[in-house]
Amino acid sequence: MTVTGTNVGYDVDTVRKDFPILERTVHDGRRLVYLDSANTSQKPRTVLDAMEEFLSRHNANIHRASHALGEEATEAYEAARLKVARFVGSADETEIVFTKNISEAINLVAYSVGNASTLGTGDPRLRVGPGDEVVITVMEHHSNIVPWQLLCERTGATLKWFDVSEDGTLDMSRLDELVNERTKIVAVAHQSNMLGTINPVRLIAERAHHVGALVLVDAAQSVPHRGVDVRDLGADFVGFTGHKMCGPTGIGVLWARRELLDVMPPFLGGGEMIETVEMERSTFAPPPHKFEAGTMPITEAVGLGAAVDYLTELDRDAVDAHDQDLTAYALDQFAGVEGLRLFGPADAADRGPVVSFEVDGVHPHDVSQVLDAEGVAVRAGHHCARPLHKRFGVTASTRASFYLYNTRADVDALVAGLAQVKRYFG
């Protein structure tokens, strides 16, 4: 792969033309510099078109309808499942459960485990109770914290967590102590949404499996950027979310080893997840349908399928290289900004394309407000990672995040905006 400027493997100017929203301006004609893709990504025309085409030509309910539209809709939905499976390296598309977002995916696992625990029957790996431990990290997004807190509250299990070192990496020194015979589940982010840190998931999974614990990886921030192979990760569950990977809102994914989906009790009850329903009791469909209750986000799955096609065509290594290049460039530029404190790894090679920082003496809300006035969209706040912010002694930070449509000019606009911030609040 040849690396020239930000044009790594593809022409970013051409790519930008695929995203209608990038043509718009904000605040009286300013160019939109969208640096909030870790929050939600923009969508290429092909995704919009796939949804529009589905809605205006093939819309019907799936798996239920015995008519032409119903068959077309079912085929489109199941084709999206297949695409997603291939995209993350699963050879068995029944390992892909569609949810509304990754938050639901994580809750699905936590509730299924909770249900197995309450019923007290079935696979012992899925049962947690007093004395058992669930291990997470201080680096997690709230969506990978709260479901486990609620599970522990319901079952009497204990929540433990990895700390984070000053350099923004996971403190692995207590691995063997934290993940021990009492551990039933380890849930960890593949990439931190605040620090950008990429975690040694495989290493953690090996230890977890050694002690018989199950491993869930929150890949919401990694799947959009780098090639993620669920088998390589060594995890039992991997979640990700459509809207951060060029796909629509309303659709998320849980990948799980089929063998586990087979023994997990259902989560949501309703139409389509059943085998047979009597008033007295019901039996359930095989995975993935067992976990897909009610009418699914059909159009959204189709949109996600189109997003996966788009990313595949662009070439994931090229996207990764592009994002890395921008991150390195931004870190370089940041070094010249006085009073800027960067959170997370200093080297772009150790992190994904999100950079969170503090501007000395100016609150992130004020930083982002001034940037917004310049057309530069960043995120200010705790980014749903409050414990991690607390770990670094702040309540909030400003975060810029890069994706396949961003350019070095976008980074320059950010840096120029920061000068403006200091003029305003200096």
């Binding site: 798996h63 239920r64 309808a65 015995s66 119903g70 068959e71 079912t74 085929e75 059943i274 085998e275 047979t276 469909a285």
Partner: protein, 151 residues
């Protein structure tokens, strides 16, 4: 009219005059299968003698495709070795997954070639497979019983 590609005469014949329908004794295993979408049901019994399929009988509620398919299936498996029967099952599965492009081997599938058109109607494939799934399950259980009895 393309309906005829789905509802071949052979299918309608088996539907109107199903073979081997009605539960019979003796049997080694009985299973009950349901199509979750439409509620169609089949109860199926298998009788083996060693590796040989001696009898398959069934009772069912369902559409023309599922009824006819069960009927054809019994014709195909009774009298064969389990392994041979499984090969036929495999060939039928492949036909169902062929999306209308399959070229079924009449030597192997006999009357079941008539189901080629079903593969173009995804919603009906499950109907055509209901009886076969029950068959496969019943044989597996029979084998389990046998291996438990002899171990």
């Amino acid at each position: 009219m393309h309906l005829d590609s789905l509802y071949q005469e052979i299918i309608l014949d088996h539907y109107r005059h199903p073979h081997n329908k009605g539960l019979r004794e003796p049997y080694d295993a009985e299973v009950h299968h349901v199509n979750p979408t439409c509620g169609d049901e089949v109860t199926l019994r298998v009788r083996l003698d060693g590796d040989k399929v001696v009898d398959v009988s069934y009772d069912s509620l369902g559409c023309s495709i599922s009824q006819a398919s069960a009927s054809v299936m019994t014709d195909l498996v009774v009298g064969k070795d389990v392994e041979e029967a499984n090969e036929v099952h495999q060939a039928f599965l492949e036909l169902m997954q062929s999306r209308g492009a399959g070229e079924p081997d009449e030597e192997v599938l006999e009357d079941a070639v008539a189901f080629a058109g079903v593969s173009r109607y995804p919603a009906r494939i499950k109907c055509a497979l209901l009886g076969w799934m029950a068959w496969k399950d019943a044989v597996a259980r029979t084998m389990d019983n046998v291996s438990e009895a002899t171990s």
